[in-house]
Amino acid sequence: MSKRKNEDMNVRNTATKEYGKKVTVRVQKVKKSHIKQKLVFFTVLAVCLVILAVFSDHLCPYDPYAQDLSSALQAPSLAHPMGTDTYGRDMLSRVISGARASIFSTFILVAVISIFGTIVGVGCGYYGGIMDSVMMRISDVCLAFPGLVFAMAIAAILGGGIQNAIIALAVISWPKYSRIARSQTLALKNEPYIHAAILSGDSSLQIMLRHVFPNMLGPVLVTAMLDIGTMMMELAGLSFLGLGAQIPMAEWGSMMSSGRSMIQTYPWVVLSPGIAIFVSVVIFNLLGDTVRDYLDPKNREAF
């Protein structure tokens, strides 16, 4: 059956190519180089953010933890471009210093869940059987287990703090990746070239490494990129519930939630970290979009 389907697809592909060959090729070439430019641009922006996070200690104009109650809650000025917070700490320094905590913790979280989730998903999808059922039930339990209960329990067992917030979010979010990877693997498994590889005597591990994982890279990478924004906000949400970063750590989510009562009175305290979150989420989302467009097989087909 799959053979016939493959033939059908070939017929359709050639048909498309003949149908509007000259025009589409040119348009898509332009689009492709445009995407490449965008990709470079957003990568540069993302790298800038990461550099900011790495060198945050050297870039802060003030000590982000030095309190000066006599200059508390000052509006933005030349001396303090983003104003000062309740404790008289310089907001700009805290936002810069917070880049490390916020960006790195999100990176670690997304890396852990995407790698672990994908491995589990591919394994389950490929082998099927009992392992699949068991792992999928475990992932069901993780998904069905309310994230909030889990995060609060983790915070109570291990204490609050950003590491524990990461653990809590990781445990409840990996199944998403394993589900993507599993369904992709299930679809791939019926592809003729996998059957061919099985017939030619490749071991399961070889097949997974050579044929399944490379195919998984695109969707997983794109999902992970787009997840960076979501996870950054999830961490902020946990901070809102008091389960995230501990005082006096500068972290955007907790800065925002601790300053939220000041939105009417001292808006810079909440807007500065808010804008920082917004800008980084936008950069990573745009980068994710561009990577997806770049990896999209429909674009590749044109070449």
Partner: protein, 512 residues
Amino acid sequence: MKAKKILAMALAVGMTLGLTGVPTFADDKKTFVFGDTTFNAENEEADINPQNTYAGWACIRYGVGETLFRYSDTMEIEPWIAKEYENIDELTWKITLNDGVVFSNGRACDGEAVKECLEALVANHERAAGDLCIDTIEADGNTITIKTTEPKPALINYLSDPYGCIIDTQAGITDNGIVIGTGPYVATDLVTDDHLTLVKNENYWNGDVNVDEITVRTISDGDTLAFALQAGEINAAYGMAYASYPIFENEDFTFSSTATSRAFYAWMNFESPVTSDPAVRKAIAMGIDKESFVSVLLKGYGYPAVGAFPDTFSFGGQNLTTESYDPDGAKQVLEDAGWVDTDGDGIREKDGQKLVIRWLTYPSRQELPLLAESAQATLKEIGMDVQVNCTSDNNTIRKDPTLWDVYASAMVTAPTGDPQYFFTSCALDSSVSNNGHYHSDKLEELAAQMENEFDVDKRAELGIQMQQTVLDDNAYVFCSHLRMSMIMQSNVTGLVAHPCDYYELTADLDIN
């Protein structure tokens, strides 16, 4: 084009969805909405049944129930349902009720009714039974005679606790915890953690009631509370976040504030290798900037504390002396005791032990994290590394003295207006909460004297001596007292903050 039409339709649908709410009609009834952050099951105020844990607070605050005696603004006992009391002997008290007190259902609140209520209270309420030690109660017309099993100098104070609200036990308690009291308002509807509806008590025995209908709304989020007051959805608010205060500091709103006996203070751990050193404790006491904490972080809505009780009490802080904020002096104290920064990292050491203070506290009181963070900074100045552990699990952690050095908490130190409570619960060898294992021979001796002292003035004098003993040992650092504030629209009158935090909605409440 069609897309646009759809869009327009979508918007229209959205608008109608939003606008088809039920409009509220104004009538000539006086209604009042009160937003409160603490009226919830979390604070053990699931309903308004005074015999159910701490729900008596809601019963008395919202004007449903009244106690036999009440506290004056200086926390002295005043008559309320009862006219007077007589201490016949160490174990016998005779209480005379006012004439003409009636429950909101019309039943007379006489000696018999009070007897029934108190008997039910002792049977149902775990704290009341232990506090009151009631042996027998006899009712005769408008007088009752209470015999206790042991001498109870503070019996009248305990009867003024919110659990002592007199309710009509014959009328019973509804499934959702509504009781019949003698107060100016009658509860008609109650949903735990959401709202309580009250109407005017037409039979009120003690004057006229101005407001016809009151809704008490539970609003646990501070920002929502601020927005609701701004939008005019509530007429007054209790428990506003300090950061929101400036929004209301204008002519549209009024504040009613008072000092309460809720104290924010740090307990020293005497088992810890660092805080067992008197020099370290003294330096901590000198290194916390109470004035700035109150004036900047609490926006002036608090009082720097000296002792356990605020100045409004006769045994308050005005009678005491303790360390004041003096970073240089603190450095000298540490220096003299051998705590020196040898490795130049800004943190002092002694015998290889770093001066690290593990500061345990919890987030449910908004002032405590503020205190922790400000102490962290000022103590760093004098060479201490304060590591804050702000967790709701503090009560488990503090039982293990190896896990913390300083425990910052917020406690009502004199809920009954009497000084004994604080010491018996925190500072004595027998105190259950003395997790830092503080011990003072002098304090034990004074406590034993207070145990059998019936004279109010002498009790106050003992209370002063006991506080001074604790302060001399720097066993506790009292940072501030809560200045409890209610914020209301400027047309609200008769809503006044009271030092004991029990009385909020009274018959005086009016809205013009």
